[in-house]
Symmetry: C2
Subunit: 260 residues, 2 copies
């Protein structure tokens, strides 16, 4: 675990990093976590390191928002600290710290390449729930930086959900063009992605009405986007679900990244 | 997760149970946890369910001690609630509740067979640290009930360690014959086990001086006990270590239990 001063987020940020045994720089897989999580939840509960060690990938676990006494917050679990939603906030009081988009795609990306034996040209991204939203939107708009992408139960259509509109109102205001740039279902149809997208979603997920997986399935189909969308019978929204299919996801990324 | 009134422990006890998909009763693997843990730590951190689902084993995660306001405790992390040491206490104030040996080997064993589609004749046992001590001592003395056994960084020689003597003083008093019946290294040499024992131990474990793995290796050798003792380079005492080798352990048990 590492802490560093972030200029993007204007506070101290913490992340976890798993390094496999290596004798040269290795590919990196990003894991973006969901609402209420820190960098730590997935490190202990997602079962990722076993597979990353076997397949020779590094894994980074960023925090989900800026944090600290100086950082704005709300009383709600889904807005403010622990709920950065992977956007650059434009609105007060959020804009001085909540710049998770730039933090992930630029500042932390560069720091990892500079400070660790990690390849800049072989990075993939995944995540769960809000983190699945982050992984997909970031990869769709940065396909040359993030060469492989997958997600577990992503918030798939936030411009049509209370997991999305509430946060976009606060962080982004009424700039609907900007809001649409953070909606996976809209981005898939507009941009596509130059590779196969892997999604796993439990069919007994208690948040299906907020995640809106059907909107994403429809968009993938309309775009004819190469994708594997697995609706998993009997699974909910928990880390038990994530851990159950983590092996498939790490393999998906390793197959792509190690061939680069 | 289930709670039930325990007559052995004279309080309400909680356990976690993972059931794989099944159409007939399945073998059961017990996971006994270490000091300070409840039933829950291993459920979320040990990465066990993935393997158990694949291999068709049920897994039970018992708590590590009786609990509650009526139950004796100490101010120390390693004595009292969270530190039952898998013995039947004979001394005040512990003896009215701290009967984890009988709870595991009799009461919970019977409850699971009665209430769930679990085979009584195909059960194995593993655990970590204090739970590795519990798994090994219980299997060594009950080989017909626990047909397979393994452990992660077990407390291997408690009659010669501060993880052991302190607790045996409190729970068992000065009955040295009884104390020796709860020491894996002594039991291996006296009794042996009718099957191969699997042990994993990190060589950078911060508690090596308390665990005393060398005493167990020596005993296995003197007994010529079939065993695989893996000293793992660079690993510590954490759940990350446990999760790294969990696949091997669940396979070890499944190979034995599914052939019964």
């Amino acid at each position: 675990m590492f802490s560093h001063r972030s200029s993007c987020c204007n506070c101290t940020m913490t992340f976890g990093l798993f390094m496999p045994e290596h004798d040269r720089p290795v590919p990196l897989l990003w894991y973006l976590s969901g609402l209420t999580c820190t960098h730590e939840n997935a490190m202990t509960k997602a079962g990722m390191q076993y597979w990353a060690a076997r397949l020779g990938l590094a894994v980074v676990f960023p925090d989900t928002s800026p944090r600290g006494d100086q950082v704005a917050d709300s009383g709600d679990y889904d807005l403010g600290q622990g709920a950065g939603f992977y956007v650059n906030a434009t609105q007060d009081p959020w804009s001085s710290h909540f710049n998770m988009w730039d933090y992930i795609t630029q500042e932390l990306f560069q720091l990892l390449v500079d400070e660790f034996p990690i390849r800049s040209d072989a990075q993939g991204i995944t995540g769960h729930s809000m983190g699945g939203h982050g992984a997909l939107t970031i990869a769709l708009r940065n396909p040359h930086k993030f060469r492989s992408v997958s997600a577990f139960s992503p918030i798939a259509n936030p411009t049509r959900s209370d997991w999305g509109n509430k946060q976009f109102n606060a962080y982004l205001g009424d700039d609907h063009e900007l809001r649409e740039l953070h909606d996976t279902s809209l981005l898939v149809e507009r941009l596509g992605y130059p590779g196969r997208i892997l999604i796993d979603q439990g069919d007994e997920d208690q948040f299906l009405h907020l995640l809106r997986p059907q909107a994403l399935r429809d968009a993938l189909q309309r775009r004819a986007q190469p994708a594997e969308f697995n609706l998993r019978n009997g699974y909910d929204h928990s880390y038990f679900f994530v851990a159950s299919f983590m092996g498939n996801h790490v393999c998906h990324h390793a197959n792509i990244l190690k061939a680069l």
